[in-house]
Symmetry: C2
Subunit: 399 residues, 2 copies
């Protein structure tokens, strides 16, 4: 058993929270490459050194704490949403640090730590792990711009003085990412720990409906080609049709809606909206895609709306490595007997990209009220410690 120290672990979680503390609940404001993010990474590098790990930044800002010798890699990310919680990413990084410290104290196995850069999507989601695994060429990622029009190429200059050599993935035997669930399932089940089976796949389209902008007083209902009403009809039809193929974990979301010209007295000429859907099963994602594309086309044609469907990058479901899952499951049975479950991850994580180059697994702890990406995000500290112990137990079994 690795001698993890829960007090040291919790103290460092709170230490990390000071970087970009929002002053509202336990919230943090630590987006990638912000002053707070860079300072937090420099602090993390110092903790790694103190733990006997060799800190190494790569060109995109990922921070590795390298143990001597080939072994497991643990971690997540330390950047946050623009208005984020204290645990999203941070829990995984500090739990990794504590397990690595304990392994150093115990004389092995070799445990390395990572904090990937820009998981939260200032320049597109999971940028750091995408670049590290070669899925996204750095030259291509460099062209991405944030909401303020800043390119990644420009933003990462804030860390250029830290950048060292690339870290080859073959020095690691696998990757385990501990993370908060960010959903309601563990809390509802009364469980302390979840062993992830699959990261669900995600697909998204952007629908543009063009009707006829017109006067809202003089244009009869019968003659209108109202783009907002087209969106309403599509959303209603999708709710009915997708429910027929959905499991209780299948989700679909219209999260973005932009109306033009967007005035109370004008029949809307244009409505642009996103439709995103997620499921652990590629075949179900296919069935949903057929329903969504058919429904959008059918409603647009029936209402005389011009239709454009913009493609967004799709993420296929990613299965977790069976052996690493089993190590986590056996450790969960040791440290949280009867209080753990296997479950898919509804959210995208760095582990999804890392699975391209290493066997990966993920470990979840509950999110109170299922709340995340919000200052109010929180987890019972007893559950955080349970997650730490389960992780340490699984790592001990890899040695």
């Amino acid at each position: 058993m690795l001698p993890v120290q829960p007090d040291r672990f919790l103290a460092d979680l709170h230490n990390l929270r000071r970087f970009g503390a929002a002053g509202v609940a336990k919230g943090v404001i630590r987006p990638a490459f912000s002053d707070a993010d860079v300072a937090a990474r420099e602090w993390l590098a110092a903790q790694m050194t103190e733990a006997g790990l060799k800190p190494r930044f790569d060109a995109v800002g990922n921070l590795f704490g390298l143990a001597k010798g080939r072994g497991i890699l643990l971690g997540s990310h330390s950047d946050s949403q623009p208005a984020g919680g204290w645990l999203d990413g941070a829990f995984g990084v500090i739990a990794a640090l504590e397990v690595a410290r304990a392994a150093q104290d115990a004389g092995g196995p070799p445990v390395s730590v990572v904090s990937f850069q820009d998981e939260e999507g200032r320049f597109g989601a999971t940028v750091g792990s995408g670049v590290w695994t070669g899925a996204v060429p750095l030259a291509e990622a460099d062209n991405a711009v944030d909401d303020a029009g800043v390119t990644l190429a420009s933003a990462r200059r804030a860390m250029a003085h830290l950048a060292g050599d690339p870290v080859p993935s073959d020095r690691f035997t696998g990757f385990i990412e501990p993370h908060i669930e960010q959903g309601p399932w563990l809390e509802q089940a009364g469980h302390a720990v979840g062993v992830v089976t699959t990261i669900v796949g995600l697909r998204q389209i952007e629908v543009t409906l063009d009707g006829q902008q017109n006067h809202a007083g003089t244009t009869s209902m019968a003659l209108r080609r109202d783009a907002v009403q087209g969106m309403v009809a599509i959303a209603s039809a999708l709710n009915a049709r997708l429910a027929e193929v959905a499991t209780e974990r299948t989700v679909w979301t219209i999260g973005r809606v932009v109306v033009s010209p967007n005035a109370g007295s004008i029949v809307p000429g244009r409505c642009v909206f996103s439709v995103q859907w997620r499921d652990a099963d590629s075949a179900r994602l296919d069935r949903m895609e057929t329903i969504i594309r058919d429904t959008v086309a059918e409603v647009a044609a029936a209402r005389g709306l011009r239709l454009n469907v913009g493609e967004q990058p799709a993420l296929p479901p990613v299965a977790m490595d069976a052996h690493l899952q089993d190590l986590l499951a056996r450790s969960a049975e040791d440290f949280a007997p009867g209080r753990w479950q296997r479950m898919p991850s509804g959210a995208v994580h760095d582990a999804g990209y890392v699975a391209r180059v290493l066997p990966v697994a993920m470990l979840f702890v509950p999110s109170i009220g299922g709340i995340s990406h919000d200052f109010a995000e929180d987890t019972d500290e007893a559950d955080l410690v349970a997650g730490l112990r389960v992780l340490a137990g699984a790592v001990a079994r890899t040695g």
Copy 2:
């Protein structure tokens, strides 16, 4: 019969179009107090002088061309939408000018002309007629700001050198506003002229639904409190319920939708949207309001969404004066026999405010394709001339 000259009338319509010509179709860009608008008003004042009328600007920028003696007032507005058509307002002003000229040529009756300021709503709709009739105190209107943050008080300085004494309404016996229909009804019926019975009433609310912003991957459909889906449910229910009380001319519009945080991967926490409804009958407006308020409250409660309903100023239906309507109808039967109809106005017009101080009537000519508030706005010149003749015939009967 007043000796109107169609060629002179059409030439001046095209002359007015040069002020702020968009260079796209016959479109104009002549919003209130813009250089183009002020120049157009100075040109109009010169035409009034030439016609034997005395031009007079008031403090808010309305331009009157005053005939000697008490008599009918004709006109509309010469400001345009930011991207507007050449006839919206302009047709009524130039038709009024031509009839006034013909009356001067004929030795009577006294016909005065007006171009109200800011009908199109740079500072809120029908500002000039609202101020002239005392419905809106100038000091209050002065606080209104346009989309660029400019106040009316500041904008009207562009015309301060022109402002003269107020024009008392009791020097007029009534007001007739010729206007393009801005809707499809006359064209569909094959009619050249419409005699307006009522300007429909308008009510609007702004609905704010607050749900729970959350992660679009991890939040199950069953647990979501999705503000966009609340709007979709309300819009769908209103389409079904309002159809039960609507006539073919009743309209309702969700023209403005603002979603927050408005990202594809976030369950929307907030949706703000307008609901506007119009009808010629106050009792029907009441029934619609009950349905709308009940539906909004019912859907919000059922979905756990916090509801706020913001009030917008309501405009009651305005009946046109029966005597003036009859003069127009008899003239229409003379100059467009079998090719005219009585009809409500679905749009708001200056005549709505003027009805507070004078008997008013309105005369419509067709809009090709029902299109208005668009560079493509147009009317067959034969219909413009028919409208001119019907107006002149009605005015001759007032003498």
